[in-house]
Symmetry: C2
Subunit: 320 residues, 2 copies
């Protein structure tokens, strides 16, 4: 008997609104039309994803740009073949009632981070601000920043403005704020946190056409999502009912502007983050940004013809 080989896809997080384009490509049969049968898996610990794709244990995985550099620095032959979500505002998130106003206020506070590199970023920001290493405490919280703040295990945590900050605001019913890493570190953008499609070079060498078909179906899912944002959210919730809450609906709307409309890896972003990872001591000057990504597996331009989402559109959705 011959079994259909499955394409294993590992998400960077639990299935959530910013994965909508993938679930649309799945649900609407775009993957199937490309002859693909993806098995979409979630991680219970985001830090596991780099090892699993680096060790070629899954075919395609989602992870941020900074992790891609870190993976290659670790010797993992992983490469980004596209961008799902770009430049989400990322930073230190907290309740205004925490008394934190500027980064200097982390003195004496408990700061939550997702995984290893979040901690490196916090330590770097503290060094830039001249804050002693022992003047604050860091706590690893994985995917659970909001829960950790609500249960008083941390005072603030690293997260994404359109996700954890929205979640914290909704769950707490209080005012929140974010100190953006790009501003604190003078990066000009939060592209270090852009979420990418990673493959192992060993897998890619033997599956070039499958990757090309996967990205084509994903782009169709992306375009369908952006053209039918409300229907897309309903279809997402049908597949993942836990997301059918007002909080996740607000997160979805907040995430819409950060979807990559053409899935392209942006050279400028890779260069910026390349320099940032060098500053952080994650990579050295021998690391070439060009070795980390390729756009060769993305469809030709005609696919990407959507107008940018403007604020009006989003506020209409929010009002609805």
């Amino acid at each position: 008997m011959i079994a259909t080989p499955r394409l294993s896809l590992l998400l960077n997080w639990y299935a959530n609104p910013y994965h909508t384009p993938l679930f649309m490509a799945h649900h609407l049969g775009f993957f199937k039309e490309e002859g693909l049968s993806p098995a979409i898996m979630e991680t219970t610990d985001p830090s596991d994803v780099t090892d699993l794709i680096g060790q070629n244990r899954v075919d395609i995985a989602l992870k941020a740009m900074i992790h891609t550099y870190a993976a290659r620095a670790k010797g993992y032959q992983v490469v980004s073949v596209g961008t799902l979500f770009h430049e989400p505002p990322t930073g230190l998130i907290f309740l205004k009632s925490s008394g934190i106003k500027e980064f200097e206020d982390i003195r004496g506070k408990r700061i939550g981070y997702i995984g290893h590199f979040g901690r490196i970023i916090i330590d770097d920001l503290a060094r830039r601000a001249g804050i002693r290493h022992d003047a604050f405490e860091t706590v690893r919280v994985g995917m659970n920043m909001t829960d950790a703040i609500m249960n008083n295990r941390i005072d603030a945590g690293m997260g994404i403005g359109c996700f954890q900050q929205v979640e914290l605001e909704q769950v707490s019913g209080q005012e929140t704020d974010i100190l953006r890493v790009d501003e604190l570190a003078g990066l000009g953008c939060c592209c270090f946190c852009s979420i990418l499609f990673l493959v192992n070079e060993v897998y890619l060498a033997n599956n070039q056409d499958a990757v090309r078909r996967f990205m084509r179906a994903t782009l169709r899912g992306m375009q369908w999502t952006l053209e039918n944002p409300e229907k897309a959210y309903d279809l997402l919730c049908e597949q993942i009912p836990n997301l059918r809450t007002e909080i996740f609906r607000k997160i979805y709307i907040s995430c819409l502007p950060y979807f990559s409309r053409d899935l392209i890896n942006v050279d400028r972003d890779w260069e910026k983050v390349g320099l940032y990872t060098q500053q952080l001591g994650i990579t050295n000057e021998h690391m070439s940004s060009r070795s980390c990504f390729t756009n060769d597996y993305l469809p030709e331009r005609p696919y990407a013809t959507l107008p940018p989402l403007d604020g009006t559109y989003i506020s209409e959705l929010q009002a609805s």
Copy 2:
């Protein structure tokens, strides 16, 4: 550079209360003490799990007994090395307000099933009850039975009494009922739905010691869970905050009695389910139940010394 190889563990469902022993073994360092570094992944479609373990894409996966027979019938060389959750009451779950009282009442109704084999079971029950194939409708709902009933996409669905029935009752605030498959089909037990630890024989041949160490750590996690049920639930929620709800707490308490205290594969259950899968036409008489499982990788008996959980204990918890 040498990376620590990870042990990939794929759950049969989203992370939920009946996975607590695994998260305890992980959180309390039992896996680490065995030199293991598991990456725990969730599925977004339970039907994917059989292919992924059957194609040796993950190291260890959780799946039910009936799926293990089906996998081997399909030519997949998978074998169960232990039991996590045994004989959960499984059947047709519905709101009393649906008007369903006995199985005959499915005529004209929409019946939800999780995946392929749930549907085979429904069709078999209908045949036994002399209900025509076209007298009712079947709808595939995956992990989302309760959501599908609440959104009026189905009238009843196949599920587990200690999980989906509790969930439906809590979400709807109405009275629910279950028609147990073991009673309808005269099986004597719901062992076909027992949740097992599956490995691919190719993986097992090369990783016998790792599997042995995994099962030993898992048994410690199981025993810790049963000895500290409230603490275990708190630790689970710290790792998976989405589970910190009254509904999941009730599901957790309802699931406690079905945890396998020694993780052993029960020969009698395998034989019963072997006959059932033959009746269902999933296997034939050439399928040997002994080929589907082994207890050779479980720790020696001294580990399994817990008293059975009695009803008093559960009701105290519920009252608490």
